[in-house]
């Protein structure tokens, strides 16, 4: 009988590079976003969204639990919607979404741009974008 030895390659031998890490990052952030959105929606329901908001508004809040997203609904008091808890949740979601989204753009760019110069430029732009949008987003979340 041939030996059926399990073959698990050590970290350095798997070809696990930045590219594949980002691939994994995309999936993991996808799952994380699901988790956070779920928290936001459940939170909204607890805070009375069932009677005060329509489905579209709940989803909008779910995608970004920022109190400005419930301003135009029949929510009587914005205070419970703008606690630090929600601000932190929203911030994490924002950071993840920006990183996920911008990397998504890089992925699309990489499909078409093949020169290493072009790819480097795309990466530099993407880093600037991540920083800029994260900063702006956080600023809005914490000052509104």
């Amino acid at each position: 009988m041939a030996t059926t030895k399990p073959r698990i390659l050590p970290l350095t031998k798997r070809g696990l590079n930045f590219e594949m890490l980002m691939w994994l990052f995309t999936r993991l952030t996808a799952l994380a976003m699901y988790g956070l959105i779920l928290i936001a929606i459940i939170g909204a329901l607890i805070m009375g969204a069932r009677t005060q908001m329509n489905l579209a508004d709940v989803l909008r809040w779910g995608f970004m639990p920022n109190s400005s997203h419930v301003q135009s609904t029949e929510v009587p008091d914005l205070a419970p919607w703008s606690t630090p808890f929600w601000k932190i949740t929203a911030s994490v979601l924002l950071l993840i979404a920006v990183a996920h989204g911008v990397h998504g753009l890089v992925v699309i760019a990489d499909d078409y741009i093949v020169s290493s110069r072009g790819r480097n430029i795309a990466r530099i732009i993407s880093i600037i974008m991540v920083i800029a949008f994260s900063a702006m987003g956080l600023y809005i979340l914490w000052t509104s």
């Binding site: 073959r7 070809g15 590219e19 990489d110």
Partner: protein
């Protein structure tokens, strides 16, 4: 029955661009599209050019787009594709003449992933074969079926975007070796396919799997490669 065969035509020595030619001919339900092309070439227009050899789906010469989808002309029967048939060359490779495309970029990609068995350890002392259990052999059975017809790679939107993407066919071959318990170069190959032009360009569009005339679960093989680079498990 009568069928109309609309064929992509391009003569590099006379035409500036391609055109379509329509032929009406008698055919039987069980005729292969390849038979129809042969008939057209024999009786209507000898200049029509295409590759073919085995005529039964094992050599990989005659992959082309039939009614908008990649197939082998010798494995597509009239009864399967209907009586209005459009035949066009594969996408994403340069058209050299009529249905003949330049296969070089495809084979170049294949060659990038070290498509050959590597095992530099000493051979078994008894002078016999290396041992491999039936289970280990079964692990990579599907991906040994590839006939390099390019139907998969040229159906992949990522390959259309850039022929630098190794493409599913090359990844299938990588799978065939990486998951072969006797091969010792899994790590080298995984480093190659983890490059930007490798695994990351596959977005599970699945066209490849549906185009493969050998019914290789290509997307699954690529998926296993992706997870192998992450977990290191190649068993």
């Amino acid at each position: 029955m009568q069928v109309t065969l609309k064929v992509f035509r391009y003569n590099p020595e006379a035409d500036k661009s391609f055109r379509y030619e329509i032929y009406t001919l008698e055919a039987e339900e069980t005729d292969r599209i390849l038979d129809l092309l042969e008939k057209v070439k024999g009786y209507n227009d000898g200049t029509l050019s295409f590759r073919r050899s085995c005529a039964h789906g094992v050599c990989g010469s005659d992959a082309m787009r039939i009614n908008g989808r990649n197939m082998l002309a010798c494995k597509a029967l009239v009864r399967d594709v209907g009586d209005k048939i459009t035949v066009e060359p594969l996408l994403g490779l340069k058209v050299v003449k009529d249905l003949i495309v330049d296969m070089e970029p495809f084979f170049d990609n294949y060659k990038k992933i070290l498509p050959y068995f590597i095992n530099d350890s000493p051979l078994p002392a008894d002078g016999k074969e290396r041992l491999q259990s039936p289970e280990e052999r079964a692990r990579f059975d599907e991906t040994t079926k590839c006939i390099l017809c390019a139907a998969c790679t040229t159906s992949c939107p990522s390959f259309w975007a850039s022929d630098q993407y190794y493409g599913p066919a090359a990844l299938v071959t990588a799978h065939r070796f990486i998951f072969d318990s006797r091969d010792e170069a899994a790590s080298e190959r995984m480093h190659i396919i983890a490059e930007t032009d490798g695994l990351a360009r596959c977005h599970t569009a699945y066209n490849c799997t549906l185009a493969c005339p050998r019914e290789i679960p290509i997307t699954k093989a690529i998926g296993e490669l992706k997870m192998a680079t992450i977990t290191g498990k190649v068993e």
